[in-house]
Amino acid sequence: MNDPVVAKRPAGSGDPGAARGVAAAPTASEAPIPPTPEAPETPKAPHVRPGDRIFRGLATGSGVFIVVLIGAIGLFLILQAIPSLGLDQINFLTSREWNTSDPANLRFGILDLLLVTVIVSILALLIAMPIALGIALFLTQYAPRNLARPFAYVVDLLAAVPSIVFGLWGLFVLGPVLYPFSEWLIDTLGWIPIFAKGNVNVQLGGTIFTAGIVVAVMILPIITAVSREVFDRTPRMHIEGAIALGATKWEVVRTTVLPFGKAGYVSASMLGLGRALGETIAVMIILSTTSAAFGWSLFDGGATFASKIALAAPEFNDTRSAGAYIAAGLVLFVLTFVVNAIARSIVAGHKEYE
């Protein structure tokens, strides 16, 4: 019973289809923009279907939940940090000392933690940004389509490698490999402060230099993946416009892909920076701790906010000492917030071009 109907339909609609073709051709030729006939609906009282209501509730709930969650985390950090900050015997923001072993005499300042965290992250970013840009451009513009896909998977896979594995790799593989190079840098460029001999044994490789390179590898996938998405969305007609003007491949990239993807690339990098700032386990394993103050050298050791807190976690038995670390965590929280805000404003500044 059903079959004849199905069989009939294409045959039946085929003829009117051809007839429509006759009617359509002259219409298209007379008016370049044919007016689209729209039957205006008579306005009715707004009726919300239950499915709509449920979905809106779920979506709104999720949105509210994340805001509340972030607010709660911030509030927790502030509430836990305030008592210890009050007990701090030295200036929290400008001191380099960190001694919380005696809860009755807390002496902690975050200056060194802040500097080490920022320097490791910036080094990682400086290394990762150009490489990620190169990979993203290769994948979207140069690689043959059947190669681009598997290659992109490999890069994404890098993000799935556990942080602890990167840490071990940095400590046991990269550190020793870098040692001759580090030594050479110290010998030849040691007169520049950032290449000066540091406060830890460079032979062990537990330097900011090693940590920065490892973190660079870790943030490479996120920057690459986001940049790739953005570059891939460059409007075809802009690319063709450039090609038709006689642009070479590189000129096409320069005149269309890069201007279009610039904001996305910058925000991708800021996302990477956010990751780098908070990276914990790998940095903790790699960086040699030291009691000496940070001396602005890449070959110094030390600790970042995250690695310092993680190292001290077993000793959080006194709320006053723990509060000192939570205060450090609060600074990290604020720092990542600021970085993200800067990224947003950069992206917003380029909106007109998207």
Binding site: A31, E240, G241
Partner: protein
């Protein structure tokens, strides 16, 4: 300037799909040639093969010859980038570079060709914008982004960009299909003026437009879905629209298609 094009036994492919079959056609200089035909008949594909844009699509392939004043643009020694610098193109949708100012858009082609002299660039920008009948509308905002103009102005900006490099041939792929009738009229007037200096090939779905602006018209058709498109006939526009040689052409232009 204003060279002639001779298309000889052109076959175009997308991968295994044979898109256009055995097209041979002469485009005289300082003359407007219109390509008409139903959707999917390959007229845009042929147009894109005339400045080697066809091969930009993955898997696209070209067989046959396209002679620009006797020189085959598909010869193995010819750099496609050079071909595109001498054969300009205007697209269906206006596509000014959104990050560039109006002036930079116009001189983008010259910059790519290595011209750096600012005075020269400014001169060319003015001359090209005047040539595209856009100068008076934009002369006070040359430094503003090209994306801020209306659709018709953007399309004229793209024409200015294409003629700024003084191409030998100007290809237009349905340049008015995204424009309103007034902007369309402006572009058609412009085509008539540009004809004095340039060889123009235009693809259009609008038969009145073909009749208004072109000197010769080529009608493309396809015999069925999956079959390659073919050139049915090419002749003086007047003849095609009054007394076409082929039944299919007559059916198409009179609206009795199929």
């Amino acid at each position: 300037m204003a060279k002639r094009l001779d298309i000889k036994d052109l076959n175009l492919f997308y991968g295994k799909f044979h898109a256009v079959e055995n097209v041979s056609l002469a485009v005289p200089p300082k003359n407007v040639t219109a390509f008409i035909g139903p959707s999917g008949c390959g007229k845009s594909t042929v147009l894109r093969s005339l400045n080697r844009m066809h091969e930009v699509a993955p898997g696209a392939r070209v067989e046959g010859k396209v002679l620009l004043d006797g020189e085959d643009i598909y010869a193995s020694t010819v750099d496609p980038v050079e071909v595109r610098r001498t054969i300009g193109m205007v697209f269906q949708r206006p596509n000014p570079f959104p990050t560039m100012s109006i002036r930079d858009n116009v001189v983008a082609g010259l910059r790519l060709a290595g011209v750096k002299d600012k005075k020269k660039l400014d001169e060319v920008a003015e001359r090209s914008l005047r040539g595209a009948n856009l100068w008076n509308e934009v002369k006070d905002r040359l430094d503003k982004p090209g994306g801020g103009l209306s659709g018709g102005q953007q399309q004229r900006l793209c024409i200015a960009r294409a003629i700024a490099v003084q191409p030998d041939v100007l290809l237009m792929d349905e340049p008015c299909s995204a424009l309103d009738p007034i902007s369309t009229l402006a572009i058609e007037d412009l085509i008539t003026e540009l004809k004095k200096e340039y060889t123009i090939v235009i693809v259009t779905h609008n038969m009145q437009q073909a009749a208004r602006v072109s000197d010769q018209t080529a009608f493309f058709n396809l015999l069925g879905v999956g079959q390659p498109g073919q050139l049915i006939e090419v002749d003086d526009t007047e003849k095609i629209f009054s007394n076409p040689g082929q039944k299919a052409t007559e059916d198409y232009i009179s609206g009795r298609f199929g």
